[in-house]
Structures are given as structure tokens and as C-alpha cells.
């Protein structure tokens, strides 16, 4: 479960999460099967982040969502 305020609940583990606006946008793009490079472009453009910072933060975020089992690759 993920709502528009960024609150997420994993029914298997019982864990709850609060995503930032950026995190929520990234998860929504992942749900639409958007590729990682395209997601990076969205983050840079929509949140006015410097490309290197955006790239590093996106990699960290993708690692986190992989660890909680939301994505497999």
C-alpha cells in the first residue's frame, strides 16, 4: 500500500515507511516501469538537483527500496 502522501505499508513484513516527495515520485515512476536513467532525468528537472548529487541520491534510494523488497533489480 502506498498513498499520495508518501505513507507506505508492507503487508508481508508489517513495516511502515514515510517517503519524501522525491521518494514518492521515484516510486511512482518505478511503478510505471520507467528506466533508471529516465528517472534520473525527472529528478534533476523536477526537483532542480545538481546531476551528480541526484545520481548519488537516486542510487542510494534504489538500494534502500531493493533492500525492503519493493524492487528486485
Amino acid at each position: 500500500m502506498l498513498n499520495d502522501r508518501g505513507f507506505a505499508f508492507d503487508p508481508t513484513s508489517g513495516e511502515t515507511f514515510q517517503l519524501s516527495t522525491t521518494g514518492l515520485r521515484i516510486v511512482r515512476l518505478l511503478q510505471q516501469d520507467t528506466g533508471h536513467e529516465k528517472i534520473l532525468e525527472h529528478v534533476i528537472e523536477e526537483f532542480e538537483v545538481e546531476p551528480n548529487t541526484a545520481s548519488r541520491d537516486l542510487a542510494d534510494f534504489l538500494l534502500s527500496v531493493k533492500q525492503v523488497g519493493w524492487i528486485s533489480e
Binding site: M1, F9, P11, S13, G14, E15, T16
Partner: protein
């Protein structure tokens, strides 16, 4: 059919809550006309004084006083307040009653209990053997009978480790200097053996279930503990739906052919992604009324079984995402109520 007349125990809430008060709430939800008799060991058991609490309360001798004292008092109570169902809720009561079903039946009482061997197989001292049979991970667990044994075992398990009473209570011990005090206290309170268990770090999970005595489940509700008290009690929990956890519980119940209520306690080792079995309690947990509020009334199903002689249809699964928070408020009583219970056993 006349409304059921039940006897149950475990009315204390507070810091170390017992299941009785939750059972009463669940039973009244399904059987509004039920007459409920509470057995108490202390006049300060808070459930005595709750709104919609027991209709009648009697003081009991502690289960450690033995079967003769227990049944003598039960006969006095039954002469004053006849009943047809007995639901023991405390580990020490179940240990006392487990091989005395004839005594219970002879008094016209119906009761669901595991047999003595099955009860022993799920005890803390035998947990490793059971877990291995069911292909369930279990922390290294060893019963010890004296201090020299405790020191020897602790060297193999490494600190910190859990020191547990055979029925109840546990203490996390950080180093050898704390070991003797913990072992002595728990042995004095709960007798030997005391259990030493390797610590597993991770989120804690509980499963409440009813076994049909033939290896099947009448119902199962799995939760993740979301808030823990200093003593590790679940002050909050949320229902989950993890097929691995359901499967694990099914394997245990199938192996034990468990009859009646139980609670499985587990810790998830997140690095290994594996559930570790910590304990199996032979009774309802204190949070028994929570699933009733999600549509799965475990206490109601047990009473139905005792009235009809057969288990009702399987309880519905509690959907993931329902949570409970333990909420404490003050109950009101008058000293006259304490006086009525005092002087006998409480």
C-alpha cells in the same frame, strides 16, 4: 440453548497483562448472555473491576498449592456458581491441569487442553528438538539446572544472552557478572530448569492460533510487534500476511497436533531473512481480543467448540494492516470489594 456459564482466569492487565479481560470482551461479543466467573489469585487483578467484567469473582489458591487445593476450591465455587466451561489462561494452571482432564470432566466442566506429552514437547527446554523436526530455525537454547552449568553453557553461547524462567519472565544478560543473579532469581521464582538462549536481534512477530487437535488450524492471526515495553511486551502490533510465517506455524501445529489456543513468538533475523522460533505458549495471549475486532473471534470459536463438541468452520484471515495499541485507563473499585476477596486466598 441457555447462555453459556464459563469460568476463566488471568484477569490482571497493567504492565504484565494476562488474557482474561480480553477473553471476556471477545466472549461477550459472540455470546452476549454469557455468565462469566473469574478466578483470581490477587484482589488487585485489575480485570475484576472492569466495566462489563466478570459477573462473579472468586479467589483461588495459587496453582503451586497443588491439584487437591485447586479442585477443593473449585468445588466450593461450583456449589455457589454452577458452570459448564473452564478456560485456564495461565501457564502454571495449564501445567497443573494438563493431566487432570478426568477431574475436570467429572465436575461437569468442558475444557480444551493439550495432552501432557505435547505440552512438554513445546516447552522451552525441548524447543530445539521440536524446531529441528519442523525445519524451523531456533536460537541455540539450553536448559541449565545449576550455576556451574550456567557458566559452562554461557561460554558456548556468548554474551549477551537471554536467561528465561521455565514458565515466564526473561532477563537479557550482558556479561558473565550478571549471570548468577539472573539465574538465581528465575530459578527461585519458576523452578528448574532455567533456560539460556542465544540472542537474536530483529523485529518480533507473534502468531495466535487455535489447533484442532488433529494437526490442522481453526484460525491463525500473525502480527508484527510495533511497540515494545521494557520487558519486551507488545504494546502495539499490526497484522501481517507473510506466507512463510503461516507455513511455519502450520508445520508446528501439524507436528504437535495441537489442541486449543496457542501463541508462537518469533524474531526475524533480517540479515538471513529467516524467522527464529523463540517460544510457543500453550494458551491465549493478552492481545486475544484484537483479532476479534478484525472479524476473527478466537475465544468465541473455543467456546463454540466446547458447547457443540466440534470445532466451528475456520476463522476468517485477519487482513494485513490492522493495528492495536495497548491503552491503559483506570478502573474503579471500593475497598469493600477487596475485603470480600481478602482472607481466603487473594
Amino acid at each position: 440453548m441457555n447462555p453459556p456459564r464459563l469460568i476463566l482466569s488471568g484477569l490482571h492487565r497493567g504492565e504484565n497483562p494476562q488474557p482474561g479481560a480480553g477473553l471476556i470482551k471477545s466472549i461477550r461479543a459472540q455470546f452476549p448472555g454469557a455468565f462469566i466467573i473469574g478466578l483470581v489469585y490477587d484482589a488487585m487483578e485489575s480485570g475484576i473491576y472492569m466495566v462489563d467484567g466478570p459477573d462473579q469473582v472468586y479467589a483461588m489458591p495459587y496453582p503451586t498449592s497443588g491439584a487437591q487445593a485447586y479442585f477443593r476450591r473449585l468445588d466450593e465455587i461450583l456449589a455457589l456458581s454452577p458452570a459448564d466451561i473452564l478456560i485456564p489462561t495461565l501457564d502454571a494452571e495449564i501445567e497443573l491441569l494438563v493431566h487432570l482432564e478426568e477431574e475436570i470432566t467429572r465436575r461437569g466442566l468442558r475444557c480444551v487442553l493439550p495432552d501432557k506429552l505435547t505440552l512438554q514437547r513445546r516447552s522451552k527446554a525441548n524447543l530445539t528438538e521440536l524446531a529441528n523436526l519442523c525445519d524451523v530455525a531456533v536460537p541455540d537454547t539450553q536448559p541449565i539446572y545449576d550455576l556451574s552449568g550456567a557458566y559452562a553453557v554461557s561460554r558456548g553461547l556468548e554474551f549477551p544472552l537471554m536467561v528465561k524462567g521455565q514458565y515466564y519472565d526473561a532477563k537479557k544478560v550482558q556479561h558473565e557478572g550478571e549471570l548468577a543473579a539472573a539465574v538465581s532469581r528465575l530459578a527461585a521464582e519458576w523452578g528448574a530448569p532455567v533456560i539460556l538462549q542465544k540472542c537474536v536481534d530483529g523485529p518480533e512477530f507473534n502468531a495466535l492460533g487455535l489447533g484442532d487437535g488433529k494437526g490442522g488450524l481453526v484460525g491463525l492471526c500473525c502480527i508484527r510487534k510495533t511497540i515494545l515495553s521494557d520487558k519486551g511486551k507488545g504494546l502495539g502490533g499490526i497484522t501481517i500476511n507473510d506466507p512463510r510465517l503461516t507455513d511455519l506455524c502450520e508445520r508446528l501445529v501439524r507436528e504437535l497436533k495441537w489442541n486449543g489456543p496457542f501463541e508462537v513468538e518469533l524474531i526475524l533475523d533480517e540479515k538471513r531473512g529467516e524467522y527464529f522460533l523463540i517460544e510457543i505458549n500453550p494458551r491465549f495471549p493478552a492481545w486475544v481480543d484484537f483479532p476479534s475486532q478484525c472479524g476473527a473471534n478466537f475465544a468465541g470459536a473455543l467456546v463454540r467448540r466446547l458447547l457443540d463438541g466440534v470445532w466451528p468452520a475456520s476463522l476468517p484471515t485477519c487482513p494485513a494492516g490492522h493495528f492495536y495499541l495497548r491503552h491503559q485507563i483506570e478502573v474503579h473499585g471500593h475497598v469493600n470489594q477487596i475485603a470480600e476477596l481478602a482472607g481466603t486466598y487473594a
